[in-house]
Symmetry: D2
Subunit: 286 residues, 4 copies
Amino acid sequence: MERNKKPAILLLACPDTKGIIANVTKFIFGNDWNILHLEQHIDYETKTLFMRVEWELEDSGIKKDFEKEFSPIANKYHMNYTVKLSEEIKNVAIFASKEEHCLFEILLKNKSQELKCNISIVISNHENLKEICKFFGVDFYLIEKNKENKVLKEREELELLKKYKIDLIILAKYMQIFTPEFVNKYENRMISVHHSFLPAFKGAKPYLQAYNRGVKLIGATAHYVTADLDNGPIIEQEVVRVSHRDSLNDLINRGKDLEKLVLTRAVKKHLENKILVYSNKTVVFE
Amino acid sequence: MERNKKPAILLLACPDTKGIIANVTKFIFGNDWNILHLEQHIDYETKTLFMRVEWELEDSGIKKDFEKEFSPIANKYHMNYTVKLSEEIKNVAIFASKEEHCLFEILLKNKSQELKCNISIVISNHENLKEICKFFGVDFYLIEKNKENKVLKEREELELLKKYKIDLIILAKYMQIFTPEFVNKYENRMISVHHSFLPAFKGAKPYLQAYNRGVKLIGATAHYVTADLDNGPIIEQEVVRVSHRDSLNDLINRGKDLEKLVLTRAVKKHLENKILVYSNKTVVFE
Amino acid sequence: MERNKKPAILLLACPDTKGIIANVTKFIFGNDWNILHLEQHIDYETKTLFMRVEWELEDSGIKKDFEKEFSPIANKYHMNYTVKLSEEIKNVAIFASKEEHCLFEILLKNKSQELKCNISIVISNHENLKEICKFFGVDFYLIEKNKENKVLKEREELELLKKYKIDLIILAKYMQIFTPEFVNKYENRMISVHHSFLPAFKGAKPYLQAYNRGVKLIGATAHYVTADLDNGPIIEQEVVRVSHRDSLNDLINRGKDLEKLVLTRAVKKHLENKILVYSNKTVVFE
Amino acid sequence: MERNKKPAILLLACPDTKGIIANVTKFIFGNDWNILHLEQHIDYETKTLFMRVEWELEDSGIKKDFEKEFSPIANKYHMNYTVKLSEEIKNVAIFASKEEHCLFEILLKNKSQELKCNISIVISNHENLKEICKFFGVDFYLIEKNKENKVLKEREELELLKKYKIDLIILAKYMQIFTPEFVNKYENRMISVHHSFLPAFKGAKPYLQAYNRGVKLIGATAHYVTADLDNGPIIEQEVVRVSHRDSLNDLINRGKDLEKLVLTRAVKKHLENKILVYSNKTVVFE
């Protein structure tokens, strides 16, 4: 019932015009490959076409040739594209602080193959998550960063990320702000969870803000990190009903379930190469 | 299965202390009345107790005596309270503009007895809803209000509200801002629907704001109107999932369903005397 | 921002093999048409490819030629397909009984252009919806059908459907069972709403069944009607939270909102030619 | 903001009549205790009143006297009641099989004080969860039960439950059926999660059933276990949207999140003494 062959995935964006899908699918058919799934989307404001094609390869050594042979089409339509083999497992670094629920959820879902990545390192400014990492067999690094030593410590972090060949950074409730220089190095490859229904309640203590405002639903938001705090492209959001009966502590606890849900859903979509970013928004293919 | 007798409802707020529930229920028991439902809530920050008791009366002429006999308890505990007979049907005025979906929904739910009120008048600054009102047998008034003539026209509106003995004003997508003077006259008796998940996207064109921000859920909020625009006590909120596939127009259309839902739910709670307001928040009893 | 040209829509199903998308899109590109949206889905159990392509036509007189020119591709891949012009407005008949909320919702959403169809007739076994139909300018027919006269009355109904050239039948809480002969004539063109989360609580009085079982969510389901009662292909479902506090009557009222939502969403998808049926399931494109 | 004193909780059911709330609250007030929260519910079909009162004790040694002094009221109104001190931590046994997500969730939420219980033992028919239990410091017992040795092995289990003074059994996807004798010993103290929206898809392989039926939402249900499989009183349900795009495996994975949510919510309500069972339904207080 489930298919076995490892597919290749082409993800592209280009100005919309006639013939793009025809030429891309003709190219795939010309190589005698079978398309498993094709999705496209046109943004009519920017007149941009977004597309994701997944097809079965007989031979996964094909990737290098693909880029050469596909370049005439890519050039003709001014495509911004990437091609991935689904067997290329991404290396992931998780930044966490004291809270463990998001870290646990990601480690657990990776262990059970719901997420399919290689979680290489966990970096934290506190020591309490060390034992968990040991249990899951993930290298743990304590980097005690603060406002004063931030630039210095980020250099240390960047070296670790380089050493472990990190493709994706997950901020699992890290609660620290990175410098724009750091953020820009991992553009669209750094996912964070904010514990509110953005753009409501940006910044500090969103549950307290929500409690004070008396909202009837609370939310959580997973997004790509940009230099503009809590304003990056939104990937996933979820809410849950609350009432006057819920204390601030109840909100925090109920919110944890949301944070886990949106963060792991967003990471899964990213790992499956299903997200394209434009105009500070995301196209999230199914 | 459904109970028949018309109940009385006591709604109160007072500083929390020992003995309040005991004394209120003793009073009701002392009159040989049967409690149908009792709910209470304590806000631990303001140390305030909120309570709603519903009981069966043999004789609905009891209300006047109740107030006299209950006053020693009310005074002792410094209660702010109201007592209502469920057979007292509230007179409602609806303010609407061009959009008809919220108006229709309220008229329809009132006709089918889901809402139980007397919809006396519809006031609008456009004529296109006149026929609907005629169909449902509701008096329609065209009052062409704008920034210049607002104070004058509000006087006209206030006279109509007085003439029809209006207990509750519903702003069914009225799209006009009232003066603080007007608003204050109907404090906690004026319900509006804002087409966003407040406090996100206050003010004009919330769907366009949501579209531009690329949110993955859109919402609607029903709240009591205060002089501070879109910042009144929230009664009900609901959301629906959207995606990059949805155009601005799709958002507007999907939002209409939410607007209908939250507005009618909020109105129903108000008509059933289930809402208490404090610290710009609401206690909404079940 | 919204696009203006009337698109054509091709909806197809065929055994999955290499080259289908390439050949279809090549054909469209060969005619110098611009693809607006393409979605496909492969069911790996039946090895079937489903596809929907929407493209801009310069000239809507193109349809007849399309069928002739497209037939080599259709034949080669053993396609089961339809091509529609979005400007072809479907003629709709609504069957209703005494309850008016679903009928009203459809009429209203059609009036506001959320649904885009021509609602030609309403057929009911009761007279109480006559005035509503008059208000919306829709022909109303009273056909008092019961178990005894069913076959005879259905003949009458079929003649009306023929006379009005009906493309789609909506059962807006009609509460009557059609003969298999009738149903088969409108296979995949007859949408009903069942007031439960199917397959739970099939048959009569689903809210009572739900109430007695003590469920914590109630649902509604829109589906294509088949001869096997309440077992047709599901198009859309929705739920809402209930509690021990809700009486049977509360469940019925809260369910009405769900019924309206799922029925209108399902009808909208059908009118937009976004549904394909296979193995008693539906592919519902975005 | 959060209150500190350990409250006492009275949970009662009795035939509805006048004066019950008045007498119970008078009793509490007479002891100079402060009520924190009172909720009641009347089932009009069985004419039964359900009530939960939570109040602050100065002295937790009060429980014994309470039972003696309260008995005149309890007898007068034919009450079925329990009184608990919130500081009495329940001993919990978890039965699990191979799947770890529910077990992990409960252990984690207990560690972070979202659940407040003493998880004494985990019993499983497989060894793979042993390491997790060790990590969380919980005793693990491997009891390899099958159809043939069930009665014998259950005796072993019952002895363990007795030895550890277990108050609540959680079946965290245990996938084994207990004998009615076993089940009856833990009536209303044994919570299981079924991976469907009950009563749809009872029995084996509910996700496969859901997949084959083509539903658009999948669900999970937490309920008290009764001798009648999957028919016990429902405590909590939740659903998530799926589509034709989701494979059976996707359904299973998305369902895991639901299973965790409903099971932990149900356990939390039980631990907080907020559930009363009647007519195979539950009253779940807020």
